[in-house]
Amino acid sequence: MKKLINAPADVVVEALAGLAAAHPRLAVDLQNRVVYRADGPVPGKVGLISGGGSGHEPMHGGFVGPGMLDAACAGEVFTSPVPEQILAATKLADGGAGVLHIVKNYTGDVMNFEMAAELAEDVQIATVVTNDDVAVEDSLYTAGRRGVGVTVLLEKIAGAAAAEGRDLAEVTAIAQRVNDRGRSMGLALTSCTVPAAGKPTFDLPDDQMELGVGIHGEPGRRRVPLASAHEAAAMLVEPVLAEIRPDQGVLAFVNGLGGTPLIEQYLLYGEVAALLDKQGIPVVRSLVGSYITSLDMAGASVTLLALDDELLRLWDAPVDTPGLRWGA
């Protein structure tokens, strides 16, 4: 394992300390591993929090700031945070108008957020669970689909809605709409290495890739021969398009998983854009970069969000976080 870290057990706290040091407008409660707006909570504004295992940076801590999250709590690497942390984040985000919990659909995340919500007696809480990963079969009888790339877009758009002064029900409805209109699919060229494990989670021969991979180093749905970017784009875009109705154009999001550099992400984006163009689907906005990662995994995911006028307007609204920033 080759990583710029000290002891594996300290990775999360030390990375949070670095984030806080680099961004003076963020504060961090190192005990509870909560990143929050140093100028928060904003009175009268709906608070937004998210959280999850670490290893997905900049998500979520890097999305704390005006126009996006009010607080984020970080679990151990790939391990959802515990209720106490979520509760601490909730309180730090509560400006009196209620708090939206943005939860990625993983059993651990869902249960820990549920327990936190049960404990947060004096704060009004709403929850939205993202489950956009089309690699996983959608079924009532299973844990269901994972929450992946849509989470980033949702945090931005719901954050803009809250910044506009919408109430908790409205912000929740918008968040839910983002989740409903967005889908994702990912692939891995290499495994990641969890610091505490010290070796790659899975072995992947040089001539193969994992298709339908998540963001926790879990193996994908199937192993396929290493493909060109052109073929890979089709493998990612087609199952996504099978599930959304982009009547007013899409936001196309190509995401690097941590070990794949930007040159490849842009090359893949070009293939994705060409494919959408061929299908007559206008790309109204785009996002290319490593925003929801899986430690050092090489690979990428594609998320398409079927925009509507309101989602587009909220996407374009100012945001001022370490990970996403414009108009500010």
């Binding site: 295992g53 679990g75 151990e76 690497v77 790939f78 391990t79 959802s80 945070p81 515990v82 209720p83 106490e84 993983y106 059993t107 651990g108 249960m111 820990n112 549920e114 327990m115 990963d133 690699a135 996983v136 079969e137 009888y141 299973t142 844990a143 994972r146 969890v194 505490a196 494990a197 989670t201 899975f202 998540g214 926790h216 180093g217 879990e218 193996p219 749905r221 199937r222």
Partner: protein, 192 residues
């Protein structure tokens, strides 16, 4: 009978087996089950070392709360709920307490047997206990349930994302749950 000894023995076994639990979790999960549980059980042991409890129920409640607040992931709330629920039912005897814990896991996890989870080891053990079987039979029930997860296709937890590819691997939670049962047999069985 000492539930404290049971918990300490569980902690000892998990710490010793942590690499293997993580290894199992690498195959069909995210390579952290051993790290998660041993982190939590270390914290449990510290809490036991530094506190005293009016009764066993209070002790188990503390165990559950420490696990909930230190493990995270899926197994934190599940094992935490197990001990919290067991604590509340301890007055009805160990088999009833164990059953209550297992029911808590199923409720918290919205899960049942046959979905390739820790319940596949826990439920048979609870049934064997309820049927008054001896400890060897109880451990055997857990181990049989655990090994029976190998061919299963996971429907709950992270392994479910693998679909058919989850078959052929032992569920890490079923492995750790079997340690919980083994620990009970070693400690509670000694004077039972």
């Amino acid at each position: 009978m000492s539930v404290e000894a049971w918990v300490r023995e569980f902690a000892r076994l998990v710490t010793a087996e942590a690499p293997r639990l993580t290894e199992l979790d690498s195959a069909i999960g995210d390579a952290d089950h051993g790290a998660n549980l041993s982190r939590g059980l270390n914290a449990v042991v510290s809490a036991l070392d530094t506190s005293s409890f009016p009764d066993d129920g209070a002790l188990l409640k503390k165990v559950g709360m420490v696990l909930v607040s230190t493990v995270g992931g899926a197994s934190g709330p599940l094992y935490g709920t197990f001990f919290l629920r067991a604590a509340g039912a301890l007055g009805d005897g160990f088999p009833a307490a164990f059953r209550a814990g297992v029911d808590g896991v199923a409720a918290r996890g919205k899960s049942t047997t046959g979905e390739k989870t820790m319940l596949d080891a826990l439920v048979p053990a609870a049934e064997a206990l309820a049927a008054g079987k001896d400890w060897a039979a109880v451990v055997d029930a857990a181990e049989t349930g655990r090994d029976a997860t190998i061919p299963l296709v996971a429907r709950k937890g992270r392994a479910s994302y693998l679909g058919e590819r989850s078959a052929g691997h032992l569920d890490p939670g079923a492995a750790s749950a079997t340690l919980l049962v083994t620990a009970a047999a070693t400690t509670l069985g000694a004077d039972g």
